[in-house]
Structures are given as C-alpha cells and as structure tokens.
C-alpha cells in the first residue's frame, strides 16, 4: 500500500471529490495561487480553474458566509480556514447560519458545507494560535465534527464529509500534515460517527481522537512492553460520538483514560466521562481519569509549552493510576 503524507491524503480527497462532483469547490485564504498555507490544495487551481478554487480576501466571516449561501443555493463548498484560531472571526456563520438553517427553515434548506483547517497547538506559536476547538464546535447541535489523526482517516473522512448533505467541520493538525501513513490506491470512504479501535487490549481503555490518537498508540506500544495492554478507541467523529464503541471497550477493560488535546473544563473528555459513568457505572473498577492541556493559555516558552501539553508520559501515568499500579 502506498505511504503518503496527511497533507497528500487530504489533497487526494479534495481532488477525487472535485472530479466526481462539479458542485464541489474550495475557497479560502491562499488556497489557489499559493497552493494553500500548508499546501493541501497543491495543483488544484491548475486542474480545476479559478471558478472552483477561489482565493478569498482576509475576511473569514465574509467567505464563510458566501460558502453557506452558495450551499443553500445548491453548491457543495469546502471552506478552508488557515487555522481554526482565525475561524473564531467566522464563528457566527458556522454556528448561527450553517448549523441552524435546516432546523429554522423547517427542512427547506440544507447546507452541504465543509469547514476545514488545522486545529490545536503546533510549536511555539503563542497562546492565540495554539488552541484546540473540539469542544466549542462539538457543543453545537447541527454540525458534525471530525478529528482524523492519520492520513488514512483524513482522506476517508474528508471524502465522506464532502458527500454529507449537512455542515461538517474537519479539524486537521499543523503537526500532522507531514506525518505519513498507508493509504490504499482504491477509493474508500470512512463512515461518519464510527470510532476505530487503533490498538486492542484488555487492561485499560484510552478514548481519544485526532493528534492524540498518535500519542495513545505510542502509549499502548510502550505499555505492552510492561505487559499492560491498552484498548485505544479513536473516536474519529467527535459529534455524533460513537458511544457504543466506548461502552464495549470499557465493559471489557473496566477502566478508562480519556485523552484530549484541549483544556479540561467542559472539554470533550468531560462528555466522554459522563457517557461512561451513566452507562458503565457497574463496570468501573476505578474512577475515569482525564489527560488534557494545562488550564492556561498556551505558553510561548518552549519548556513551559511542553509541560502544558498532554503527552505520552502523562497518559502512561494515568493508565497506571487507574490500574492501581502507580
């Protein structure tokens, strides 16, 4: 199977879907002539022309709104935000227009739009450019939220997102674009709302998604050497969440660690813990522990940034804690 980067996998997904359906178009800052801030749209302008690969002004609210309007009128826009930090300027279009239109029009207008771009911290970009917005977005009924961690998942999920008839948010990762993985030659789709078991084990569940899925796999491989076998559940879709996959895993292992990139308070992990305590109460042999970013704006200083981020060591400590092995 060919090994390609996450960036190339997204590029393939865009190319395949734009070739398959001429209603699909890409719009955002620098997506055309510059080939995308992270080169995800490389070669697409050349291939599909200016009508379908549109360089926008630096005006997030404006081009997000144009996207929503064009989706209501029958097109299938893919809106690229240079990062989700900048998408805060467009949040009204995402939350109030895209997410609400089907409901408030009594089912008359669906909005088949994809908002995508890098999410979460990279390295030393400062507090304003190092934020993970999963829980902000997943809070909103009316949008689906995807968080792929591998090239395979990124391609399969983005293709499904573009074919979905309602708004979908895809959270990519600046640190993920260069990562590599196997992606098949043939076409495939990954269904929305289904988790993927990335490692199989009977001792402890780690429930996670996105960039943190890579950390979880690293943790599982390391702990296997100590004869601790971790079940890694990569949610892939954060909303709607595949709760059955979580329940099945926790009922098997009797203990869980929830690993996420963002902050603790009202984070995704809080929701996962809520699901677990409601449905798996009698299966738990230990409190569920969360691993997350420190509750501070992301520090710029390299040493402090490292301490603030969730990582493999913190996750291993959490697993040992729920296994009463610490």
């Amino acid at each position: 199977m060919p090994i390609i980067t996450y960036r190339e996998a997204l590029n393939q997904a865009l190319r395949e879907e734009m070739s398959r359906d001429d209603r699909v178009y890409l719009m955002g800052e620098e997506v055309g002539v510059y080939n995308g801030a992270y080169k995800v749209s490389k070669g697409l302008l050349e291939e599909f022309g200016e009508n379908r690969v549109v360089d926008s002004p630096i005006a997030e609210l404006g081009f997000a709104g144009i996207g929503v309007g064009s989706a209501m009128a029958g097109l299938r826009p893919v809106i690229e935000f240079m990062t989700w930090n900048f998408a805060l300027l467009a949040i009204d279009q995402v939350v109030n227009s895209a997410a609400k239109m089907l409901y408030m029009s009594g089912g008359q207008f669906n909005v088949p739009i994809v908002f995508r771009g890098p999410n979460g911290a990279a390295l030393q970009l400062g507090a304003q450019h190092s934020q993970a917005f999963e829980s902000w977005l997943a809070h909103i009924p009316g949008i689906k939220v995807l968080s792929p961690g591998t090239p395979y998942d990124a391609k399969g999920l983005l293709k499904s997102a573009i074919r979905d008839d309602n708004p979908v948010v895809v959270l990519e990762g600046e640190m993920l674009y260069n990562t590599k993985g196997e992606v098949p030659d043939h076409e495939y789709l990954i269904p929305l709302g289904k988790a993927d078991r990335k490692r199989e084990g009977g001792d402890c569940s780690i429930i996670t998604s996105g960039k943190m899925a890579l950390v979880a796999m690293q943790v599982a491989d390391q702990l296997a050497k100590e004869d601790i076998h971790v079940d890694v559940i990569d949610l892939l879709t954060i909303r709607p969440m595949d709760v059955e996959a979580i329940y099945e895993s926790v009922r098997k292992t009797n203990r869980a660690v929830v690993l996420e990139e963002g902050w603790e308070i009202c984070g995704i992990g809080a929701q996962v813990v809520d699901f677990i305590q409601r449905e798996c109460f009698d299966d738990l042999d230990a409190p569920v522990i969360r691993v997350h970013q420190a509750d501070v704006p992301m520090p710029y200083a390299k040493n402090l940034e490292k301490i603030a981020k969730p990582d493999a060591a913190k996750t291993i400590a959490a697993v040992k804690q729920v296994m009463y092995r610490s």
């Binding site: 299966d283 738990l284 042999d285 230990a286 009463y324």
Partner: protein, 411 residues
Amino acid sequence: MATKVFMEALSPTMEEGRLVKWNKPEGAAVKSGDVLAEVETDKAVMELVARGDGVLRKQMIAEGVTAPVGSVVGVIAGADEDISALLSAAPAAPAAAAAPVAAPAASPAAPAAPAGPIASSAAPAASGPVRSSPLARRLAKESGVNLAAVAGSGPGGRVIKRDVEAAAAGGASAISRPLSAISGADFTDEPLTQIRKTIAKRLAESIGPIPTFYLTAEFDMTRAVEMRAQAAALGDDFKVSVNDIVLKAVATALAAHPEVNAHWLGDKIRYFNRVHLGMAVATNDGLIVPVIFDADRKGLRDISMESRDLAKKARERKLTPDQYTGSTFSVSNLGMMQIDQFTAIINPPECGILAIGALEDTPVVVDGAIAVRKRMRVTMSCDHRVIDGAVGARFLQTLRRMLENPLMLVF
C-alpha cells in the same frame, strides 16, 4: 499555612493503622520531621512524623483508633490560623477505640465504674460504608462475597476487582451470623490487631488458591550435633545453634536449587539467583518473618548473629519493613517446642516453606545394627504450581546430604 497530618503508609502492605500514642499534645509546637505519634501498622509500630512546621492544633483521632491510610488524623497550623474549614471537612473522629475490654467480674481492681452498665465505647473504629468500586460491588453481589469482610487494596482501602476475585477464590466470604448471647464474664474481648488481620488475610489467600503438597523426610542430625559441640568447645565465638546450622544448610541447598527458590507472580514464575531466607518468629502478637538476606553467602557465625538479632527485634516489634519483606523462601522451626513434625503454610508469593521438627534420640538401623541417633523431621510445603514432587524431593536430598555431612557446609 495549615498542613494536614495523614495516616501514612508506613509499610509496603499497610492499609490502615492504629494510632497507639500521640507524642505531641494539642497545642504543642512542632517542626517538620518531629515524631507526632506512634502508629501500629500491619507489621510493626512505626513513627508518624510532621510534614510541616507550626502548632499541632488538632488531634483528629484518639489514641487506640484505627484509621485508613490517607485519612486525616491531625492538623498542623499557625497558632492563630483559622482551621475550622479543615475540621468541618474531615469526618468526626470516632470514639476512643476499644482497649481490651475485660469483663467486670474479671477485673475486681477496676475503679468504680459510673453507675449503670459500662457503656461500650467500642464504636467500631473508622466505621462507615465500605469503600468499593462499582465493579467490585457488582462482582461481590454476583459471587456472594460479603464486601465488608474483604480488605481493600485500592487507595484509602477501596475494595476493587482483584480483592473480590481473591476473596471469591479463597472462599473468604464471611457468612455473618451473630453469636448467641453469652455472659460477658466468660470471655475477654480483644479487638483484632493489625498483625492478626494481616495473618488472616494472607493465610486465607494461601490455603485457598495455592495447591499445596507436602514432603516429609527424617534426617540424621548426629554429625551436625557433634559438629556444633566441637565448635562450641572452641570458645564463645564459635557457639551456634542447631537451627543456625539448619538455616545455613537450607540456604546453601537453595543456592543449588533455584527451582524451589521462586515466587509465583500470577502470570509468571520468578526464580531467584540470590537466597533471601525468611525465618518465622513467634511473637506475643503473632507470627512475623524477618529475612536473612543473601543467606547462602554468609558464614555460620553471621547467620547465627543475624538470626538472633532479628528474632529479638521481632519480639520487641522493632523490625523495619525492609527487614521483613523480600524473602524468597522461608523456614519455620517448632522443634524447640517439642513438635515432632508439622506442616507450615506457604507465605505467598513464595513457593515453599520448610517446617522443622524436634531433634530426638531415636533407635534406627545403622549398618545392620540398632543404634541411637539424633533424628529430625522436616516437612516441605510446596506450591505445586511451581514445584513438582520430584523437584521438591531433589532439594530435600541435597539438604539431607548437607545436614548429614555438615562438613559440606564449609565448602
């Protein structure tokens, strides 16, 4: 800033501790490192030291009370600091613990008691609901285990899955049936000490899930006894006991038979290259097994001195945790109490223990004629999950050769 005084885990296996004595009264100035109290753990009486400077403002439990590891037993703070929040957050200190309650008739010298029946102040120490994980509760219900009878190994004594499974496997589910009323004059109630609780828990773990078999052999100890007498004639420096010779021989034989010098660890067997010999010592409180480390590399004199020292410390309850943990094999000797032969219970995760009987003049056939010889019976308890019959027998053969030809111990 106020510092909470916690019941600390003062031994590797401690789950709760009994506060024997407060060394500092309320209001006393304390510095970090000062000994605040003496605490009886499951094995010994240890010191609980201050972790902060200030004044011992509050003793939250009375002397004699048992508290789980991790619970707050006192508060150190500034003399004028407001500690009311800390006090109200902590559970009320249980009533003074039951010191051995002698029945009135048995203690005529007792000062006049207040009128009326003596109110039993024996509110169960640290009572309250059993802490347990939801899974442990479900498993206990399914397997009919009485949760209250299970000692929890989780934080703060929380009963977790493995505890319930161990209890279910060991059939330790206590069927609680109240005793019919018996006149209080007929008995004396003694609350369980930590060491008794530990013995019960450990031995129940042992006799239940460990498939044990026993090998008995009778050794001719005539030469060993002669050797001991000859050595003693050389002067006090050379005086050792027969038991010391047995310990030395067992250690040497174990070094030659690592297949019985092992721990059963559930999913694996750990064979030791070093011999750390546990020696069971009877104390007034119960059994404890201090360890002679690297016993196979030590000479008879060292073993003799060390075993005497450890036995003394054990009886005085002065052993530190590192002196009674880590044994790889154990020996129990009841010979001095005229027991001919007995079986000892394996101390898990060890896989074997040797029970030594009394030395006795016995008529035996030697070279076709009846002769009186010094004979001694030993019985080895073997965990069959690790030691097969022939394996244990080979170890005993080696031990027999050494004890019957004690000159071998020199080499």
